[in-house]
Symmetry: D2
Subunit: 359 residues, 4 copies
């Protein structure tokens, strides 16, 4: 299968390059960057010297459709929605790492991204690619809206508990902490070394564009629970508190999440562990930590794992769920490859078997 | 006034050395370290070379009482409670940076610290030294239980809102994040560079010994509010959710705190700002951030400031309060000097006027 | 005395602000930034909130001359040379942290900086402000060319050995390593957090504009030695090897320097220590390390110290000299204030007594 | 082929685990750690959870000989020399990541390591495993002394120039800079986070045990050159200056090396590049940088590459050579696997094709 990456000079793209290069069923034939077309990729990223012989090229949709079977978009918001309809018409599969097709309600996109949304027809065709949760839909989809980094960490940690009615979804608070690579390669004072090193910053409190994405999936889960237990399946709005912090490290996201237990008197850490292990039994990339231990971001660095640990507090009637991923892997390029595997019926771990790099 | 530091080779002690050296009203005459007595302090801390000419000495309570007017304890839990009674009897003021005298309920100390508590008589004599909140008591006290680093950041951010009934104290969730110097200078795998660098770790979830300290002050505030508005002043137990995270930086603590607004329909960030600015009007070390901005730890590094910012979310009915300090300064040595100033009726900023070191 | 800073939003300027604020003999009345004039400095640097009440202003030479006695330039190359002549004519003292007046040979400036040089008259009036070495000239000067950060660390480590003929100046190799704040606050891919963190980069090998500055002072010393011992004082060109490396930290410069011993058979570390301690006896900011220990950058962080250590290797006939400074302090703002003290006959440590911030 | 690792809880070992797990021709059947035998490896290294099902076991040489074909030693100095003779007698191949078999002269080992040397017979049987240089010997050897991290970076950068008589080996100065993982997982104040973060330290100047290892290979090369050009092949002692620095990062080593050019008037960077590219033509893990650029450690992170760049300075008659590796990969586990491939006649890149992890 032949593939192309659009947006070829960002960190998401270069992580895709690293993964596709070792994927046995995929050939990477084109890396597209309008801003640097004509340049050898190793001049932009010297770590690729002597490994890849790729010249960055300009986007030409028509020739792209002839050359490749699947396209990865690693572009800023507002780009993929312009090109995916045409690619889709011509039979090219699309995996979009940007936010353009994630929100089913166009108004939400317009509110949180400040841009006009993708066409509704294509929003409907696109599948929200949280691999472990929506795998069945992903298998039958040709457009994947690859989830954001924070939503991936948050939702993998929350959905099993919501589905099993262990927590009250209306009480969810998510304290997110990210490494700096999530902000991309574009220079700014907010990613300037001397401003970020030896510093911890809160940013975009209550304003992050990942909020509606997280809420949308929580609402789907809550509606499914309600539909199963009663007679209505209507979506109900479930706002969450979501705070984001910039941490002085390159890779890694941790979401520390708090929610009221539905049954505080009987809830235990071991019950959470047992439920989550069962829920993710056939999903090798989610690992559940033993009682009394919690994950750290370095333990998943460079890999597609999501590690989850719990604390149940009888005093407060709340559970604390800690979920970590590598934001460039499970939070971006890794999950994109996982979705590619799912779409093609390949082993979900194909090309993704690397052990985390530690230390 | 003459002073001594006990526990002279830890980071809290060496920060005290830095501050006392420039304090106009204090002379540092002794630095005590039983483990390294006889060694020149500059052999333990070469950054002090050519500045201080102090040899670490062994603890001798009797000679200490004759030589100094005030003693700072920068010792692990369980040490100061052995010596403060005798020092107090002999008229020496004590400022204890450890947790030995913070919890008024001895049972709490025994539960969370796993040691026998200080004598009740001395627990009662000791004043909890959160300078901005308990300044009047501190002025009249001769034993100060200097607060923990997390509690200082958390409580300065929460108490004004509790006092003014802006939040429901029973809904408080505190997500704490700390630099590594808070763990001290003792070596361990948890502070080993290659394990911590480029890593973010959750630790001691729901188990940190700062939990009862935070709850105690919240309960005092809530009881005062209840006493004022009704007819009972009894302390009610108010458990909080408190999580701690180790961040790859040396200095700094941030607490991101969540609570239900008592009046969600009318709450605004500007109302919080206005109340906090008024509350801290005569307290120069607390700075309130303008709407839409939040503090970062580097902005207080090396200084005694505590910076606080807010986000009010009408969607969830919650406020998010972000509070940052330098854990070795306002979270330890800086507040200890501030308390020394208060105890002596000196200007509260004496010896503490340094501008944060940025970048 | 009243002072102004020109170039007010860079790191050198904000470090000057920190120092001048606590200097007993100086009042800072103006911070000039054409690009951000009208903005409150605390909006650019929130760590200054509630401390300084300064609005950035536009440069107006005439009104400046009326208002202040001394001006600090913390500007990029090419700016100060336009304004210092006029300020000087009107009796305002100038301390220039840029490179405009450092090189006595205008051709050198033009070659290494790629710009036209300052006027020769003013180059001659300006004194190269390496405080410990040229203090007598500095005292009588009204224009100070404050040295570069690398040259300060390198020259303080080399000059005593050259002066005492302990090393052959023609064999000097300087391996320089710097923190990222030396690159300033201007954003670029070279100072982008994710590119620099967990990375060590060699840059500008043999091309750094500090090379002619280091060579100039070495040539002066070598010529003085030659003049003393023989009959010629002519300057001889003495090229040095100088390499620069970007280290993943904010502050700090280390120069590791190698040179052939003039008398390998009898040279010892203790002879170097003895000579350097004597050379710097009346210079409190230079500290010599005991045999078998070498300095580290954190041991001078936030202070004006330069720490120096030695290794003498009989096997190779070479000495290794390690010299460290805080690049924003002794390498920029700290030495500028030291020079201000010298120019005014004040205690050289005035306003500079801070203990290094450790850890 | 079946393999075991001895010394299973250090960083070298865990990096070997990462590599052997994906090596197509090797099965890892045993990880030995006397100190933690009986523990699951994932309890020591949680990042291995759900990936490897290995219990650490105690060393039993006899059963080891029956179970495995090759043993990797990732042990401190002094361990492998006790066991390799017996393993070798029983036909087990040994790759030793420690220093026990690197120095051919037992006296050197005793001087620099302070321990008694391995038996001379086995020192002679062991091949110094610098893969690109001694590949022919490695192919025919059954005991490999895997090189140290600093010597690997230094020698790959120096040997081609020595062999081609481009530099005078008696003038070599090596300024080495290492990440902290090179110090291993054993805790100490020198690897304590708060001491190392935001700090750059010079250590063991002129005393590092890698000095005789570097000199030995330089002397071999110089002797070969002498033998070819004249009539004597006797080893001549060639002392080098070698300084080591601890850099605030986990992985990575850079050696910046200086030497006198043998022909300064005609030497050029492009001549160096041309010679090195030709020298390493059939060696895929060494990459030569284009003129005007130099490598950085992150560009090889997680990979087995060694990247090299040059600066030729006509002014000083010296060349500067910059060489970088990942100390745990090409400087330890990666080169060990490369040597395993060479010993077995497999593709030298087998199991080592990972692209560096960037950023």
């Amino acid at each position: 299968m032949k593939s192309a990456i659009i947006g070829g000079t960002g960190y998401g793209a270069v992580e895709l390059v690293r993964l596709l290069d070792k994927h046995p069923n995929i050939e990477l034939v084109k890396v597209i960057s309008n801003s640097q077309s004509g340049t050898d990729i190793q001049d932009v990223y010297p770590h690729l010297s002597n490994i890849l012989n790729i010249q960055l090229s300009e986007l030409n949709i028509q020739s792209l459709c002839e050359e490749v079977d699947v396209v990865f978009f690693a572009t800023p918001a507002g780009v993929s929605k312009e090109y995916i309809p045409e690619l889709h018409k011509q039979g090219v599969k699309c995996i979009d790492l940007s936010g353009d097709f994630r929100l089913k309600n166009p108004q939400n996109y317009e509110t949180w991204y400040g841009k006009s949304s993708a066409e509704t027809t294509y929003l409907e065709k696109a599948t929200y690619g949280l691999s472990e949760i929506y795998g069945d839909d992903i298998k039958n989809s040709e457009i994947i809206a690859n989830p954001g980094c924070y939503p991936t960490a948050a939702l993998l940690g929350l959905i099993p508990a919501i589905n099993n009615k262990m927590i009250d979804p209306k009480t969810i608070i998510i304290d997110g902490k990210s490494g700096v690579s999530g902000a991309g390669r574009g220079v700014s004072l907010n990613t300037h070394y001397s401003e970020i090193n030896e510093n911890l910053k809160a940013y975009k409190l209550g304003q992050h564009q990942h909020i509606p994405e997280i809420e949308q999936a929580i609402e789907w889960s809550a509606a499914a629970v309600a539909a199963a237990s009663a007679n209505h399946a209507e979506l109900e709005s479930i706002p969450v508190s979501f705070s984001t912090h910039l941490t002085p490290m390159t890779r890694g996201i941790m979401c520390t999440m708090y929610a009221q237990l539905t049954d505080p008197s009987s809830a235990t850490v071991s019950a959470f562990i047992e439920h989550y292990e069962s829920f993710y039994e056939s999903h090798p990339f989610v690992r559940i930590r033993p009682e009394g231990t919690w994950p750290s971001t370095k333990e998943v660095s460079g890999s597609n794992y999501c590690d989850i640990g719990f604390q149940v507090d009888a005093r407060t009637g709340r559970v604390t769920i800690v979920s970590v991923i590598d934001n460039l892997m499970k939070g971006a390029a890794g999950q994109a490859v996982q979705n590619l595997n799912l779409m093609n019926g390949w082993d979900v771990q194909m090309g993704l078997t690397d052990i985390p790099m530690y230390p």
